[in-house]
């Protein structure tokens, strides 16, 4: 344990030596060579594909580094990094001022993402108005035929309380409207995608970066949820992807965050379906 502490301090010193003004250390994979230690990451599930890929590349270059990644949702990320249980917390919503003050968080935004409303590809519906979405999720519209689909009951899916995706969807998609308590609760973006892909009568919401052929996105008030519409601001249900540390980032955590802003990191972010941000 003591050895790790010393190594972390050395890494921290080295990190300081490379510190560039204002921004977190600009790193590429070379920065991780000859390092040793652990980085614990937890929080938003939308971030997981990017984190996993970054971790894979880093751990391939240097197998003495261990990067552990857990999900749990944005709420978990903020709480756990604030309590000191993990080194980096991910969040799909901006931490509130209280949270920042309470824990001394330093959030950093590295991508823009949207939240798309998705249904099963077998469902013929392709567009919904804002009011329809509100009513469906409130439980007022409970049969697909009421919006032009089959005569089948709507299968509602929503996220757990800790989810940043849910928070953003609730605020910007539903205008803080109610989500029916009848809805099935799933615990991550991945789980939402799987659930909707398996259930022909499902409707849910998922990070735009997670979209693939297994689910069909629905246009919201006439706007399709694509990278372009999110970037241009036309698609209203958008949010940033944040990573934060308690206090200033140090050592390996700093390098990891820095890596996200490096060319390799930005490449990973766009490959996974998000819009990289400097």
């Amino acid at each position: 344990m003591k050895k790790q502490l010393v190594l972390m301090m050395v890494a921290g010193l080295m990190g300081c030596m490379f510190w560039t003004q204002g921004m977190v250390l600009a790193g590429s994979l070379d920065a991780f060579k000859n390092e040793k230690g652990t980085i614990k990451v937890a929080g938003g599930t939308a971030h997981i594909p990017v984190m996993k890929e970054a971790a894979k590349q880093i751990m391939t270059v240097n197998s003495d580094i261990q990067i552990t990644i857990a999900g749990g949702g944005s709420g978990v990320g903020i709480k756990q990094v604030g309590e000191g249980l993990v080194d980096i917390g991910n969040s799909g919503r901006k931490p509130t001022d209280e949270e920042i003050a309470k824990y001394g968080l330093k959030p950093v935004q590295w991508a823009i993402d949207g939240v798309a409303i998705v249904i099963n590809p077998k469902n013929i519906i392709r567009k919904l108005t804002g009011t329809q979405v509100k009513d469906i999720f409130a439980g007022k519209i409970d049969n697909w035929k009421q919006v032009g689909g089959e005569d089948k009951a709507v299968s509602l899916y929503t996220r757990d309380e800790a989810s940043g995706t849910r928070e953003v969807f609730w605020e910007k998609g539903l205008g803080k409207g109610e989500i029916s308590s009848k809805a099935n609760v799933v615990v991550s973006n991945g789980a939402m995608k799987t659930a909707v892909a398996q259930d022909p009568y499902a409707i849910g919401y998922v990070s735009v970066g997670h979209l693939d052929q297994s689910v069909a996105p629905v246009s919201f008030d006439g706007v399709e949820p694509t990278l372009e519409s999110v970037k241009s601001g036309k698609y209203p249900i958008a949010r940033g992807l944040y990573s934060m540390t308690k206090g200033e980032p140090k050592g390996l955590a700093k390098k990891l965050i820095g890596f996200l802003f490096s060319p390799e990191g930005q490449k990973i972010i766009s490959e996974k379906g998000f819009i990289p941000v400097q």
Binding site: K56, T60, G84, G190
Partner: protein
């Protein structure tokens, strides 16, 4: 009365067929979907097996970290649980008075019945407590998980040890004592070796339980991706969690198939362990798992 006879006979045959059908469905589903994935690459990804085993390179696309995580969990939990359980079992069988035996047995029956998620919750609360009051380095981790798992399986070891010792014939106990041995010598040289098969059964059941448990580790430190844990304070992966995670969050049909492969491995492991326990000591296994 012949009508009643026929009804009951039909009823029992139908029940048996339903159960057999269910078992076949479960096994069949897993085996049919998972058998095709059983190859070295399932476990080691694209890393050569030898490199992975010698820890020269990290396996990032395979089940190896999850397998190692599960093995480490088993090892460390058993390390906690066996000495404690053995000591307790010996005390109950050899030294305890009738009343304290009854009280302790009540406690351990309750412990045996506590849902695993509640034990996980306890482990989590313990981790947070230690984190706030002892050291910032402690959090949900391999150490806490193995301690919580040890609490989970403690009743198994206590019961098998106690019953195995109690079932030894009276004559056996008295002989050594009559020859002048002390109580401890009696236990160590005569009773324990005879009760060994029973105790082993308990340990095997404990191992099986640690391997399959998901709820406890869910709350005490298992994560989606961690590689091989570098220290006891680190996070880790585990097979049952991998299965749970994949089932709800698979990103492609190939990934789902790895879930089936993992299920197959876990299934074989647990069934193997439980069957071994039954083979060694059928009655003890019953008593441990279902005692009223």
């Amino acid at each position: 009365m012949k009508m009643l006879d026929r009804v009951v006979i039909a009823f029992s045959w139908i029940s048996a067929v339903i159960i057999v059908g269910a078992v076949c469905a479960i096994f069949g589903h897993i085996i049919l979907n998972g058998a095709g994935t059983i190859k070295l690459s399932l476990i080691f990804g694209d890393v050569a097996p030898l490199d992975a085993l010698l820890l020269k390179r990290q396996v990032l696309n395979g089940l190896f970290p999850a397998v190692i995580g599960t093995l480490l969990l088993i090892l460390i939990s058993v390390m906690w649980a066996v000495p404690l359980g053995l000591g307790t079992g010996i005390y109950l069988a050899e030294y305890a008075g009738a009343i304290s035996k009854k009280i302790f047995n009540l406690f351990f029956d309750i412990l045996a019945g506590i849902p695993s998620i509640v034990i996980g919750l306890f482990g989590f609360a313990l981790a947070i407590f230690l984190h706030k009051n002892v050291s910032n380095n402690i959090g949900p981790c391999l150490l806490i998980s193995s301690m919580a798992l040890a609490f989970l399986v403690l009743p198994y070891i206590i019961r098998t040890t106690q019953v195995a010792l109690e079932e030894l014939p009276r004559e056996m106990r008295l002989t050594a004592l009559a020859l002048g041995a002390t109580r401890l010598q009696n236990i160590r040289h005569v009773l324990l070796p005879r009760a060994l098969s029973g105790i082993t059964t308990g340990v095997i059941l404990a191992i099986g339980r640690c391997a399959e448990d998901t709820a406890v580790i869910l709350l005490t430190g298992v994560v989606a991706m961690a590689g091989i844990p570098h220290s006891l304070m680190g996070s880790y992966e585990a097979l049952p969690f991998y299965i749970y995670y994949i089932s709800s969050q698979y990103t492609s049909p190939e990934e789902l198939l790895t879930g089936y492969g993992a299920s197959l491995i876990l299934l074989v492991l647990c069934i193997g362990l439980f069957s071994a326990a039954f083979l060694i000591q059928k009655r003890l296994t019953y008593i441990t798992l279902y005692r009223a």
